[in-house]
Point group: C2
Chain length 206, copies 2
């Protein structure tokens, strides 16, 4: 026994959402049908428009329905720094922290030979071209501190080494509020090998 | 800083799904946009059709896009028993247990004066009419064992008392695999007051 064909189809379709299993999809379908048809209709319409209209910023590759995204078209950003991130969500996280006012370049992934993702898929050519044509002085490689993220950063370091640029990466160490007792060995070992004198912290900030 | 307007609209629209908060909605939107546009398009189309076409079975009120649902139109069900449940999901759960081969009536909710849900919203008139016109001999009230569910059942017992029917409810007690140590006092107290002799279990089954 199952629900009627269309309801079963809806439950199946909802499973394309990440983290949604069969029980959860059933709950979502029945909730919309029983209690929120207006919400369901709005979701259907926005979803259809989004899938059709959202593309990539022609300058930084982030997801947007505009030709050039808000950050790339802003006149108030620092043109001499470019931060390379893996995903639009990473870009948003950095923006929300408020520490950065330069430009971005979004790879939309990381190097992954097993998944067939190579330099061409991540826009490395566009990145090099951008760096040659724009007044960028520093590139911050803010890929994730995972195996794939670090491999991608290492590849970029070699690719960009011939350009007259300063290449940096984000500091690795103990996160704020982290407790030594519960941190993994990898993080502790990075924090140890990257330890700083109290004076040098000042210098870095200055 | 936020994503572009259309992406923000999509994130908002996804929050109409139950159990989906802001972070989760963002993850879903980016997943569909970055990795599964086909799934997103299919979901949009099925969602739109479902919201438009799914209505209620004209006989038992369950959700279906058909005029009469599969169970009501089946010739193999026992016409003399009618099981009253709160939701289509409850009906599915009973069907999947495989213990019941009668007909259903779906209230689509429970009495709730605070939420403005009264007898008219739950189809009580249709239920009485159905019982008068069909050869039903027993009505099983399978509302949930919650305050609202039991109030609804009690109301139905009074409403149907004038009809020549046997009215029953599901047995309450310790669930299979439940451990006494962890059961709530209410369940234990029901299980105690409803205790059965080993002989009477046989009688009930016979």
């Amino acid at each position: 026994m199952q629900f009627s064909p269309l309801i079963e189809e809806l439950i199946q379709a909802l499973r394309c959402l990440p983290g949604v299993g069969p029980k959860n999809a059933q709950r979502m379908a029945l909730h919309l049908l029983e209690r929120n048809r207006a919400g369901g209709n709005r979701l259907a319409s926005v979803l259809q428009r989004s899938m059709e209209q959202v593309g990539h910023c022609s300058s930084c590759r982030t997801l947007t329905e505009q030709e050039i995204c808000r950050i790339c078209s802003s006149g108030r950003r620092n043109n001499t720094v470019l931060c390379v991130v893996e995903t639009p969500a990473d870009m948003l996280a950095l923006e929300q922290s408020g520490v950065y006012d330069g430009r971005y370049f979004v790879l939309l992934g990381h190097l992954s030979p097993l998944a067939g993702i190579g330099p061409d898929d991540l826009g490395f050519n566009e990145l090099v071209e951008k760096l040659q044509n724009e007044p960028v002085e520093e590139v911050i490689l803010a890929t994730n501190p995972t195996l794939e993220g670090e491999t991608t950063a290492q590849y970029l370091v070699e690719l960009l080494s011939s350009l007259p640029l300063k290449i940096t990466h984000l500091a690795q160490g103990i996160p704020l509020g982290g407790e030594l007792e519960y941190l993994d060995g990898g993080t502790l070992s990075r924090a140890f090998s990257g330890r700083q004198g109290f004076a040098s912290v000042k210098e870095t900030n200055g």
